[in-house]
């Protein structure tokens, strides 16, 4: 017998999945998380019927925006779209778990996070349309830019959290002051070295950061089983970072777990890690063909676990939803899709000279020279045009 011990398969098999809402909408009790939802930290009750209907509406809205964005891509209006279909509960739950002062650090598929943060969906489209690499002021909206290089944002989240510590806004006991960072990335990104380095830094410095992985089962065509031999929730434990695995299609489980983790981080208890088990219902992006690697039966299985349907069934069981409310949500979602459509069609290409504006914060002679060169180059065509016009008039 070897002296070596593996976490496989014993512990992996035992890794629990926290679920508060079953697929049919049935609510199961959970001592700790129920306390969090009930507002144990001095919060409002997070599961009043009104709030539950709000989560439902939010999920319906972002799904509509997402479908419309896919259509816009098919119409040639967007260069690319990364759909978050199926991940609405994970994102709306995590988004609503944060407080206004918290800093959120997304990847490029966090449309529900952006929505919960009040970032209009058409601002997300700017980068997918190709008119910008960003679209908002990170400090104004306390949301980091969307990140394309996977995992790169995880150390940013930790660094920001280290800044919070130095600013004295962690562990003061004042719930309006204490602040934390929510770092979001997918199962694929969790393989990146920078995520591991972020675990190291956050654990070493007890940084107030919550890592939130949406395990949507596929990193383009590579399944999670190729990414990790253990449930992702176990990964951070090697760093001494407490973690939990939750049902990512269960908005209440996500909301409660993220709120609990952020509360701990804000209180100065250091980092937490959450694996939200969910499913990316669409392809990786509009450039991807999921049918080449993914069995249709799997998609069907997950469709039955739909996060929106689940919350609706729960509300039905509570007797807190009616057809009029559902119809109103659908109508609003349709309006949002139309707004998106109009924003895209009204979105003008930026003046290319703007390229030269923000490469540097301070004046840079080579960029200035190249800007002048560009303007001079463009001007000769303008002269030609005006000459032609004059010729035409004559």
């Amino acid at each position: 017998m070897s002296v070596f011990r593996s976490t496989i398969p014993d512990v992996a098999a035992q890794e629990p999945l926290i679920q508060l809402l079953a697929t049919d909408g049935t609510r199961s009790p959970h001592e700790e998380l129920d306390a969090v939802l009930a507002g144990s930290g001095g919060d409002d009750d997070l599961q009043t019927p009104e709030r539950l209907r709000g989560y439902y509406r939010d999920m319906v809205m972002i799904r509509a925006a997402d479908l419309e964005a896919t259509s816009l891509q098919r119409q040639g209006q967007l260069g690319l779209w990364a759909s978050a279909l199926g991940q609405e509960a994970a994102q709306i739950g995590a988004g609503h778990a944060s407080r206004e002062q918290d800093y959120l650090v997304p990847t490029y598929r966090e449309h529900g996070i952006a929505w919960a943060r009040g970032i209009e969906p058409w601002r997300l489209l700017e980068s997918y349309r190709g008119v910008s690499h960003g679209g908002w002021d990170p400090n104004e909206l306390r949301t980091h830019p969307y990140m394309i290089v996977l995992g790169s944002q995880a150390p940013h989240a930790v660094g920001y959290a280290m800044g919070l510590q130095r600013d004295g806004v962690v562990g003061t006991g004042d719930r309006e002051t204490d602040t934390a960072v929510l770092a979001l990335f997918g199962d694929g990104a969790s393989s990146e070295g920078e995520v591991s380095e972020s675990f190291t830094f956050s654990a070493s410095f007890e940084a107030p950061v919550v890592f939130f992985t949406q395990n949507n089962q596929w990193a383009i065509s590579v399944p999670t089983s190729v990414q990790s031999r253990v449930p992702l929730a176990q990964r951070s434990r090697g760093w001494g970072i407490p973690s939990v695995r939750v049902d990512g299609n269960d908005v209440l489980a996500v909301l409660a777990a993220v709120r609990d983790a952020l509360d701990a981080a804000r209180a100065g208890e250091g980092p937490r890690f959450i694996e939200a088990v969910t499913y990316r219902m669409a392809a990786h992006t509009t450039s991807d063909d999921a049918s080449r690697y993914r069995p249709a039966v799997e998609e069907q299985e997950w469709a039955e676990k739909d996060p929106i349907l689940r919350l609706r069934r729960h509300l039905e069981q509570l007797g807190e939803i009616d057809e009029a409310f559902v119809a109103r949500c659908d109508e609003e979602a349709q309006d949002l899709a139309m707004q998106l459509h109009h924003h895209i069609h009204g979105m003008e290409d930026p003046d290319p000279v703007g390229m030269f504006t923000h490469a540097y914060a301070e004046p840079h002679p080579i960029v200035e020279a190249e800007r002048a060169q560009y303007l001079e180059y463009i001007a000769q065509f303008e002269d030609d045009e005006s000459t032609e016009q004059k010729g035409g008039r004559a």
């Binding site: 910008s132 690499h133 960003g134 908002w136 002021d137 990170p138 400090n139 104004e140 980091h144 830019p145 290089v149 790169s152 995880a154 150390p155 940013h156 989240a157 930790v158 660094g159 920001y160 959290a161 280290m162 800044g163 919070l164 510590q165 130095r166 600013d167 960072v181 070295g193 920078e194 380095e197 972020s198 190291t200 830094f201 070493s204 504006t357 923000h358 490469a359 540097y360 914060a361 301070e362 840079h364 002679p365 080579i366 960029v367």
Partner: protein, 327 residues
């Protein structure tokens, strides 16, 4: 601190200390920089003065060091990170080129990245693999970054201060084999010369010799030797590698008609090639000879017992001068 004579390493220490005293948002991060004072002792004494919240001994993870500095900068801090040796910057290459260099642009100017990345630079110290490299061209090629390369104590002090004050990210390549070479430092009087400008450090008429950082003593030594043969070389210290101060170099070349660029980095794809192309464009009718380069070969930096053959030396520079003057 009044005017004094300091080794380059201590001039940087003084620059860091003074910057930290005037701005409490400045903090240092890196491996072994705290209690030990850095492997080259550049941060010596700063941990004792400013404490572990401002002089942070980090885990051994370069991407983590640079990546967390991005988050700190978003939060309003001015991180100065130390990469222990030039060849160890590559684990952080992704963070530097895709994040540090682009965050300001990505956010349409809403977020500044006033990060300084200090890198002990260059060879000639008999070190083992990855401790003697010159990767400046890899970073000079990336828009969004600035690069400074001090060659003397006065520049080391002031460039440290000015790099920290800069709203853009600055990589500072420090000439490690010259860390203990002393020079006059005047911390009370800000130099008139901008850090982004080159300096004509020796006037001459027959050819221009351009170098930076660790190659500067060789350039000056070569000019002395050439002068003994009656050849007057104008020597320029580039000082800033991104942006390169082309006007100062071009003005010199227009006077001398010839340019030799000396650097330790491999010539292939090196910064010397970029400068040669720019000067050829700018000074075509003034050039008496093609712009020549003397630098490293297209090889991995060799083991220490061979580095003398790899690095530019007096004979190779003078050979280059001869080739220039043959035209």
């Amino acid at each position: 601190m009044s005017s004094s004579t300091l080794p380059i390493a201590k001039a940087i220490t003084a620059g860091l200390r003074d910057a930290m005293r005037v701005d409490d948002k400045v903090l240092l991060m890196g491996e072994d920089i705290g209690v030990l004072g850095g492997v080259f002792r550049v941060t010596d004494g700063l941990h004792a003065e400013f404490g572990s919240q401002r002089v942070v001994d980090t885990p051994l993870a370069e991407a983590g060091i640079v990546g967390t500095s991005v988050g700190l900068a978003v939060r309003g801090y001015r991180p100065v990170v130390e990469i222990q040796f030039d060849g160890f910057v590559f684990p952080a290459f992704n963070q530097i080129t895709t994040q540090v260099a682009k965050m300001h642009n990505r956010t349409h100017g809403a977020v500044h990245m006033p990060i300084v990345i200090r890198i002990p630079h260059g060879g000639g110290i008999g070190a083992i693999e990855h401790h003697s490299e010159s990767p400046e061209a890899l970073f000079a090629h990336t828009a969004g970054l600035r690069i400074l390369a001090p060659s003397n104590a006065q520049d080391a002090y002031w460039m440290t201060r000015q790099a920290i004050e800069c709203e853009d990210p600055v990589i500072m390549f420090e000439p490690k084999k010259r860390y203990w070479v002393k020079g006059d430092v005047d911390p009370d009087h800000r130099p008139e010369l901008s850090p982004w400008e080159a300096a004509v450090v020796r006037p001459g008429t027959d050819a221009t010799l351009l170098a930076w950082g660790p190659s500067m003593p060789l350039a000056l030594e070569s000019a002395e030797a050439a002068a003994a043969d009656g050849i007057e070389l104008e020597v320029i210290d580039a000082r800033s590698l991104s942006p390169v101060d082309l006007p100062t170099i071009a003005a010199s070349v227009k006077r001398t008609g010839r340019l030799l660029i000396v650097h330790e980095a491999p010539v292939v794809g090196g910064l010397g090639g970029e400068i040669a192309a720019r000067i050829s464009e700018e000074c075509f009718y003034h050039l008496e000879a093609p712009v020549l380069r003397v630098g490293g070969y297209h090889l991995p930096y060799p083991p220490a017992r061979m580095e003398h053959a790899y690095l530019p030396d007096l004979d190779r520079v003078l050979d280059g001068v001869d080739r220039l003057l043959e035209h």
